[in-house]
């Protein structure tokens, strides 16, 4: 029997992945352990090794399409095995998931002709929603059986329809709304060339923007793609399909902002002592020999110290180092600090584990490594999943103060503004100090106001008395 090469599950809540690149071609000889392909998951890229040695055949998992976890993407035939022994039926090329095709097909703004494979997603080999893990994934729309059937019959892509039912569930009314909107991502099986002409005739007009069945006060609720697109002239925009990271970010942020009762605490911290200590520590860094010549063994940033201070503050106020669950409070024993890293196309939050126990130089070195691998999308899931709090720093842009969105399962996130010279009043005199405003967002279910304030005060004390971070 040839060995199946499956799309592995490399991420806890991964349901689908895209193969971004094959390293071996059809018919190539591969050795067990060779890098066979690279997959892009929601947040990372990962290289996958060949599970066996032999000849690579029937490469059905094409690059750049969403493929459910567990589906065979190729086969490896042992050298003495006759090619063609397995049934051909299993090896039809994997069709892209409907969501992917529909968004791609709208590039250029034209409404594409109906396609049989688009209309019947469940008939595609290997990607029936009932198989594998896909049913549990958040990337598969939550929908009622009726909505699913109607979408199936109309050839609509469920994941492109935003559900107005409980928990974002797509219900019949959402399908009806999608079908009645003039442009719905161009995926309706009913849309033909005539349909396209009809769409043009229905191009935005003022009457169109307040249909009678929609609330008249303010803007009508924007549900699907069609509702948004109809507000803009055709050709006046370009459609960029979402990659997995963008979808994950959108889903998680909506979840966070709709389910977590956020509240915010802001405090100013004076940085002068911290900056002085940082200069002193960096100046004392031993020299390390590398290919690029001699470099200091470490170079602390203000952010490294913020991470450490946040971790120690959580240690000092352990009740705030928590995660909310419905039945119990999860009280963490360590402070694992996630750090928001901006990367092309989105952001990711790698985690400094047990930051409370790590030295500043360890945190600094680890952070540089995590950030650089985050940018090349090479983080492992365990490096960005979990954590007990997070730090988001926009100080480098000169942002004075902002409020960040909590990243579940965290109960807090610290938004860090720029350190800048400000006039401060001390003992009746105006003095100049370097001041940084920080805003703590907390999940009120887990951290109440006074507790959050206690945490923030502990943080401020460490920032303003930074020697405390060295002991």
């Amino acid at each position: 029997m040839p060995t199946e090469v499956i799309l592995p599950k490399v991420d806890m809540d991964m349901a689908t992945g895209q193969i971004s690149r094959w390293f071996a071609e059809e018919g190539a000889s591969v050795k067990k352990g060779d890098v066979l392909f690279e997959i892009e998951t929601d947040k990372a890229a990962m290289e996958i090794d060949a599970p066996a040695s032999g000849v690579l055949r029937d490469v059905t998992g094409k690059e750049g399409i969403d493929i459910p976890v567990g589906v065979a993407v190729a086969w490896i035939y042992a050298d003495d095995e006759i090619y063609g022994a397995a049934t051909k039926q299993d090896k039809a090329p994997i069709s892209p998931l409907v969501g992917e095709m529909s968004t791609k097909s709208t590039e250029g703004g034209a409404v594409p002709p109906a396609s049989q494979s688009v209309a019947r997603p469940s008939a595609l080999p290997g990607i029936s929603p009932s198989r594998g893990e896909i049913g549990q994934s958040a990337s598969v729309a939550r929908a009622t059986p009726l909505a699913r059937r109607l979408a199936r019959e109309a050839g609509l892509n469920l994941s492109a329809i935003s559900g107005t039912g409980p928990h974002g569930r797509v219900v019949k009314a959402d399908i009806d709304a999608a079908l009645s909107s003039p442009i719905e991502g161009g995926v309706s099986a009913k849309r033909t060339e005539e349909g396209a002409a009809e769409d043009t005739a229905l191009a935005p007009s003022t009457a169109e923007m307040t249909p009678p069945d929609r609330p008249l006060a303010g803007h009508p609720p924007l549900k699907g793609e069609g509702d948004v697109l109809r507000l803009f002239e055709q050709g006046s925009y370009e459609l960029v399909p979402h990659d997995n990271m963008r979808k994950t970010i959108a889903r998680r942020l909506v979840e966070a902002k709709t389910t977590i009762p956020h509240f915010y605490l802001t405090l100013d911290c004076e940085l002068d002592a911290l900056l002085a200590l940082r200069t002193q520590i960096n100046a004392a860094a031993p020299v390390k020999k590398t290919e690029k010549g001699d470099v200091p063994a470490y170079k602390l940033s203000v952010n490294d110290m913020v991470i450490k201070a946040m971790a120690l503050a959580l240690k000092a106020v352990p009740d705030a180092n928590a995660s909310w669950t419905e039945s119990a409070m999860v009280k963490h024993k360590h402070a694992d600090v996630g750090v928001a890293v901006s990367i092309p196309g989105g952001l990711i939050t790698p985690i400094i584990r047990k930051a409370d126990e790590k030295t500043l130089s360890t945190i600094s070195t680890e952070m540089k490594d995590l950030a650089s691998r985050a940018r090349s999308r090479k983080l492992k899931p365990e490096e960005y999943q979990g954590g007990t709090t997070a730090v988001s720093n926009l100080g480098m842009f000169g942002i004075k103060d902002f409020a960040a969105v909590i990243n579940p399962p965290h109960a807090t996130i610290l938004a860090v503004g720029a350190g800048e010279e400000r006039a401060v009043v001390k003992n009746g005199e105006i003095k100049i100090a370097t001041v940084m405003s920080v805003t703590l967002s907390t999940d009120h279910r887990a951290v109440d106001g006074a507790l959050g304030a206690e945490l923030l005060v502990a943080f401020k004390r460490l920032i303003e008395n930074p020697m405390g971070m060295l002991v």
């Binding site: 009622t144 059986p145 009726l146 909505a147 059937r149 107005t164 039912g165 409980p166 219900v171």
Partner: protein, 332 residues
């Protein structure tokens, strides 16, 4: 010629049905504890002993197992006994005769005999009779192939279904809610039957199907009337028979309304609501569901004696209103 229709209570309708059956067929007779001179624990048999004599309206000793055994034995010989339990709770004492004998004979004897016994069970809570006299055990018997189990909700059905039960060749278990006995409704004179195994759509609607049994049918109808003012249009199905269940009526209704709620007084877990829900999930109606299925049933506790608590542990009209509103408005 149309039969004259009068207002009778549920208990009177049952009594009339038994009298008609006894008039029509001398094989029909009644047995039960205190059903003779006393007229029955809930006065359902009333003065029938005066009309038919103590040989056809028989007071049995206080042994449900013995009485049920006599009834099953009489049915095996070709008689058509109607056996009254004082409380459905005491069915537990007669389980051997009901489950192991009455339900099995036809099958184990190759269809050579049948057991045309009718057993009547005053059931349900609301009379302050406490935990051992207030249960709704119909699902217990509904689980047994070989039995037919019915729960008439109106005087009309109580009479028509009892007459259908007497005519039925198999053992039929009738669960009569005690609070229904005094409820009045139109009942035609004379003989008629209401088929066993056929549900009744008590009210048509398009937003939600409520499948209810026994007294809950009336509570569901009250809830539906209240919600009409809010523009919520509820279909109420009176299941009437729980074995054999009229699946098609429920399936067709759910296909129309896309939402299902089951309301029953028996303990919610492992009850009729579970059966109806699962039946719909397995049926063609699954693809028509636009909301989760909801069950409203009794609390997971023995029926309390305290009258306020007694009300609190079974679904009441406001509970049905709230649950139905949430379901239709998409809150759950």
């Amino acid at each position: 010629m149309d039969a004259m229709v009068r207002e009778l209570s549920y208990a009177q309708a049952i009594q009339e049905a038994m009298a008609i059956a006894m008039d029509m067929d001398e094989c029909v007779f009644l047995m039960g504890e205190d059903i003779g001179v006393y007229g029955g624990a809930f006065q359902v048999t009333g003065d029938l002993v005066d009309r038919f004599g103590s040989e056809r309206v028989i007071d049995t000793p206080i042994s449900e197992l013995g009485g049920a055994g006599m009834a099953v034995g009489a049915a095996l010989t070709g008689m058509r006994p109607i056996f009254e339990f004082q409380f459905s709770d005491f069915a537990t004492l007669a389980m051997e005769q009901i489950v192991n004998q009455a339900a099995k004979m036809r099958f184990m004897l190759g269809g050579e005999v049948s057991v045309p016994v009718v057993m009547r069970f005053p059931a349900g809570s609301g009379t302050g009779a406490a935990a051992q006299h207030s249960q709704s055990l119909e699902a217990w018997l509904g689980h047994v192939p070989g039995l037919k189990v019915i729960q008439p909700a109106t005087p009309y059905d109580a009479k028509g279904m009892l007459l259908a039960a007497v005519a039925d060749p198999d053992p039929v278990m009738i669960f009569e809610h005690k609070l229904l006995y005094k409820m009045k409704g139109p009942v035609p004179e004379g003989y008629y039957t209401v088929p066993i195994g056929k549900a009744d759509i008590r009210r048509e609607g398009r937003d939600l199907t409520i499948v209810a049994t026994s007294i809950m049918v009336h509570k569901a109808l009250d809830a539906a009337a209240a919600l009409e003012a809010e523009g919520i249009d509820i279909e109420v199905i009176d299941l009437r028979t729980i074995r054999p269940m009229d699946k098609q009526t429920v399936i067709d209704s759910v296909k129309k309304t896309s939402r299902l709620m089951c309301v029953y007084e028996a303990v919610k877990t492992l009850g009729i609501g579970a059966e109806v829900s699962a039946m719909i999930a397995e049926s063609e109606a699954f693809d028509y569901l636009d909301a989760p299925i909801v069950r409203l049933g009794g609390a997971e506790t023995p029926i309390p004696y305290n009258p306020e608590l007694e009300k609190a542990v079974v679904p009441q009209v406001p509970d049905i209103i709230a649950a139905a509103r949430d379901l239709v408005k998409g809150v759950r």
